[in-house]
């Protein structure tokens, strides 16, 4: 198989990220410099994002049987790369003043990003599996990374072990599912599988294969009842890494799932759809209910992310139920809804965990052995750090889906897609789930607005100990949350163009 120049250009974002990881590794071998390493990482990711942006208008291209580079993958590529840039900056602030050697972290960050990039371009089980494993293994090391500095709590190690074991199990499910599908159809590529499906229908092998794959993917997406690992990993991982786990790894898996379902037209199989409906409902309810019981902010956000994945699945399901009418509008609407909600979810979640990692950075946290994640830590934050607390409030409101924020537009999109496809029971659960969700989002806001005991008057100097790079990123994210919440048209246009090429 020969690669043409066009192929290489199409792969440029992936190649650039790979190259950056090598360069960063070599540079660390010669000279250890944290800031320089971080800078190089960000530059490499930015270059990859730039390269990805340039090829957005291009027609889709199958590069090797494994990867397809099209608008859809290009869009998710951009989302993933920008998220990684933000995470890299948060990591710099978080690890800068801690003991230990933070430089290798960035190699791992680059390889996880690489894995996610491969996943969103995959239309073959092998490439998807490869991407997933690159992502998973690097992530496992990232979660355990601060084990030298935060040894007292031991949480990162616990989280990493949990992630390793459960992720291994779910990968096993996935691999077995793929094997079953291969046994039934002889296909590993989505396109071939579709051909096999349309000729022979859904055989028992294939049903079993799809079921196992859905279970494996539900693990990665932390849908109930495959969610057990989520709160522990979110709590134990260092805050910026949690941000990564919560955003990039979810988005990449979801992107593949949506592509696979749309390509295979898997929505026609009632049993599959039924399973996903059940997963979505359970996630929305259980995620929101369990979040009520938490006193740790990272765990609250973990359960809230479970619920949010449930909301996304509502739109995901809406993408399939276009059989009622002949027009393709509802399906497009649903694909748009999924994409928009992913963006909303990522921006908001990044801002949330970003703020936690800002306050957890060395020199700012009340307790060096853990992150700034106890709900009591947030008492009176409004009056000591008014700006960051305001941003956090906006973030929480966005998660709750209140207007003026991107989260509202996302929820509106999902509701619109759901109503258009008349999925009333799911929508009803969504409304109930959102209602429950208000409790814990508002509780956090109330805690921040409370008078802290002996709180000092807001001094302008109290922000100084927080890393400045991270504060800039938070500022940008806050602007995005509000701007895209008030003026969503540009992003809608962008996503719509992407969705149309996919349909």
């Amino acid at each position: 198989m020969n690669l043409t120049t066009g192929d290489i250009l199409a792969l440029l974002p992936i190649i650039l990220v790979t190259a950056t990881s090598v360069v960063v590794m070599l540079m660390i071998a010669f000279k250890r410099n944290h800031s320089l390493t971080a800078l190089l990482t960000v530059a490499g990711l930015a270059a990859a994002a730039f390269a990805g942006m340039n090829q957005l208008g291009q027609p889709s291209l199958q590069v090797t049987p494994l990867l397809v580079i099209d608008q859809y993958s290009g869009f998710f590529n951009l989302v993933i790369l920008s998220t990684s840039i933000a995470v890299a900056i948060f990591c710099h602030g978080y690890f800068d003043k801690r003991e230990g050697l933070p430089e290798e972290l960035y190699i791992l960050l680059l390889t996880t990003t690489l894995g996610a990039q491969v996943m969103v371009s995959a239309n073959h089980f092998v490439s998807f599996f490869l991407g997933l494993e690159i992502l998973g293994i690097s992530l496992f090391a990232l979660i355990a990374y601060p084990v030298t500095t935060l040894t007292k709590s031991g949480l990162p190690l616990e989280a990493a072990s949990k992630y390793l074991v459960l992720s291994g199990v779910s990968t096993g499910f996935l691999a077995f599912g793929m094997a079953l599908i291969y046994a039934s159809s002889g296909a590993m590529s989505l396109v071939d599988f579709k051909v096999a499906l349309s000729s022979s229908g859904l055989e028992y092998y294939a049903v079993g294969g799809i079921a196992m794959m859905v279970a494996g993917l539900a693990f990665k997406l932390s849908l109930v009842p495959f969610h057990m690992w989520t709160p522990d990993v979110y709590q134990g991982a260092p805050a910026p890494i949690t941000a990564f786990v919560a955003t990039v790894s979810k988005a990449a898996v979801l992107a593949f799932l949506l592509r696979a379902f749309a390509l295979l037209d898997a929505y026609q199989y009632e049993s599959v759809v039924f399973v996903i409906v059940a997963l979505a409902m359970a996630s929305m309810l259980v995620g929101n209910l369990l979040a009520l019981l938490q006193t740790n902010v990272k765990r609250i956000l973990a359960y809230s992310s479970i619920a949010h994945l449930g909301y996304i699945m509502v739109a995901f399901l809406a993408a399939g139920s276009s059989d009622l009418k002949s027009d393709v509008a509802p399906q497009l609407l649903a694909v748009e809804a999924v994409a928009y909600y992913i963006v909303a979810y990522i921006v908001t979640t990044l801002a949330g965990f970003g703020i936690i990692s800002l306050f957890s950075s060395a020199g700012a946290a009340p307790d060096e052995t853990r992150d700034f994640d106890q709900i009591d830590d947030y008492e009176g934050l409004f009056w000591t750090h008014p700006w960051l607390a305001s941003v956090f409030t906006v973030t929480l409101l966005s998660l709750a889906g209140i207007p003026l924020t991107i989260g509202f537009i996302g929820k509106f999109y999902i509701l619109a897609a759901g109503v258009h496809n008349a999925m009333w029971s799911l929508l009803f659960v969504l409304v109930v789930g959102s209602g429950i969700g208000l409790f814990y989002y508002l509780r956090l806001i109330i805690v921040m607005a409370r008078n802290a005991d002996g709180a000092v008057a807001p001094a302008s100097g109290s922000n100084l100990s927080l890393p400045s790079g991270g504060r800039w990123v938070i500022g940008v994210l806050a602007l995005l949350i509000v701007w895209l919440g008030v003026n969503p048209s540009p992003l809608i246009d962008f996503i719509r163009a992407m969705a149309q090429t996919m349909g």
Binding site: L397, F408, V419, L427, V431, G435, L438, L442, I492, D493
Partner: protein
């Protein structure tokens, strides 16, 4: 443009007040007062330039002449969502009420709020902006947007500056309104989706959606989504139970805004959307809704009588009075509708005044318990007299605004359903019982020795007197000479009425 300015000035003024709080803790209240006054004067000068008589003979079916002013700019064109603001007679009077009570609320907070003042006035002004947005937005998405925008600042007003159980009350308020709001959003989306299937155009515009034909089952469900959201806000039994807590725990200014204008957004929604959009379903549902209205009137009155907490008592009277509005809207004839709007305005003023008085007493005495009060008339005669005035206004004494509203509603309701009117009238008999109970417990009888110490209980300050005086004047004018108000409202209400009637006859054929 005027409508945009009304909202923008409040938004900007809110931010300015917040920033001013960083300079001086007394500055925000001045900024807030100036902002609302500018808004009020701007609006008054605009209204005085209007020739309402041209609009009076309107009432054509398209309703195009009814709108005094319209503004439209694209917002999210992909979904057919626009910044569509429009004002008719009903909106005009409600906007005036909102701005007027905005001034009252600022006066009520003037000396009571001494912590985090900048943020307080920020929230206050943003609530007002949200309410005006709700009254003027005619794009359903925009309407929902403002519906939610007014929630958060109100929530914060209660949660941060409220009384002993503030967090519980604020949470309850928020969840009730937010969840019912989501139901309304679902209904809006369903309506838009049906309209899209019929016309091929995605639009959230009220004018476009008016002609949507919904078959009766679907129409009923969609209508119920709206109904629940509005009745929660109104509030009507059985969705009322957030209100006593929210009212009791809110700071005085919060209660004033809550009772005065926020509840009216629910009433406004019932009036504007239910019948015009779903004439058939609403007609079928009217008996149930009116029954709920009667239950609200009677149950609210009964519970009011059982309260010892002064603010809680007034909160329950609100439920009772808002029940008349529910009856009025669902009686759906012009007399009842005009009565409902009159009741909205009059109740807005009288309940705001009562909450301001109760809040003032609490600020001075640190209690709201009627059992601990008594004999205040001799200590604070001006407060006593003014309180008596508003209590009597609330019970519906002829010659004051509330009487006009309630009696018009009852006359109108009698045409629609004599039974409902008869039972609702019993509520008018209950009203003096609880109203005079407040007057007797707090102001007459033995003076409680705890509060006899001179200096603790002081009479109304000049700015409070000014505020009360103006509210008294409004109620008296409304009661004695309501005709100009009725003329302003008439074209808007006539057109809404005819619109729904025309649709029913289309379906009937």
């Amino acid at each position: 443009m005027i409508l945009i300015w009304l909202i923008l000035i409040l938004f900007i003024g809110g931010v300015a007040a917040w920033l001013a709080g960083g300079v001086n803790s007394k500055a925000p209240r001045v900024v807030a007062l100036i902002t609302v006054l500018i808004d009020l004067l701007l609006f008054l000068s605009y209204c005085s330039g209007l020739d309402l008589s041209t609009a009076i003979n309107a009432g054509d079916l398209a309703g195009s002449n009814v709108w005094i002013v319209q503004f439209m700019a694209p917002w999210i064109p992909q979904f057919g969502i626009n910044f569509l603001f429009a004002m008719d007679g009903v909106t005009l009077t409600l906007n005036l009420l909102t701005l007027f009570l905005g001034v009252v609320a600022i006066f009520a907070a003037w000396s009571e709020i001494d912590q985090k003042t900048g943020f307080f006035y920020f929230n206050l002004l943003w609530v007002l902006a949200g309410v005006i947005g709700v009254f003027t937005a005619l794009d359903l998405f925009l309407f929902f947007f403002f519906w939610e925008v007014m929630l958060i600042p109100m929530y914060l007003l209660i949660a941060v500056w409220g009384h002993e159980k503030k967090e519980y009350a604020a949470l309850k308020f928020f969840i009730f309104t937010q969840v019912s709001g989501l139901l309304m959003l679902l209904s809006i989306l369903a309506l838009v989706s049906i309209n899209y299937q019929q016309t091929g155009v995605i639009s959230f515009s009220y004018m476009d959606l008016l002609g949507t034909q919904t078959d009766s089952d679907v129409g009923m469900w969609i209508m119920l989504g709206f109904f629940v959201a509005f009745v929660v806000k109104l509030p009507g039994v059985p969705l009322h139970n957030w209100l006593p807590d929210a009212h009791t725990q809110a700071p005085t200014a919060g209660s004033v805004i809550l009772a005065g204008v926020l509840l009216k957004t629910g009433a406004y929604g019932l009036l504007r959307f239910i019948f015009p959009l779903f004439p058939e379903a609403a007609t079928a549902f009217a008996p149930i809704a009116m029954t709920l209205g009667v239950i609200s009137v009677l149950y609210g009155a009964k519970l009011a009588f059982a309260q010892y907490d002064m603010k809680r008592l007034i909160a329950y009277t609100s439920i009772s009075h808002m029940g008349f509005i529910l009856i009025g809207v669902f009686a759906w004839n012009t007399l009842a509708l005009q009565g409902a709007v009159m009741q909205m305005l009059a109740h807005g003023v009288s309940s705001a005044a009562l909450f301001a008085l109760a809040g003032g007493l609490q600020h001075r005495l640190h209690t709201r318990d009627l059992r601990e009060m008594g004999g205040f008339w001799t200590i604070v005669p001006r407060t006593g007299a003014i309180a008596l005035f508003f209590l009597i206004a609330a019970l519906g004494l002829p010659g004051l605004g509330n009487f006009v509203g309630e009696s018009m509603v009852l006359f109108g309701a009698f045409i629609a359903s004599p039974t409902v009117a008869v039972f609702a009238t019993i509520g008018v008999i209950f009203a003096p019982v609880y109203a005079l109970k407040v007057a007797q417990d707090a102001f007459q009888g033995e003076t409680n020795s705890r509060f006899d110490v001179s200096g603790k209980l002081t009479d109304l300050a000049p700015h409070e007197l000014l505020m009360m005086g103006s509210m008294i004047a409004v109620l008296v004018v409304m009661g004695l000479y309501p005709q100009p108000l009725i003329d302003t409202l008439a074209p808007a209400i006539d057109s809404m009425h005819q619109l729904a009637q025309a649709q029913i006859s289309v379906i009937g054929r």
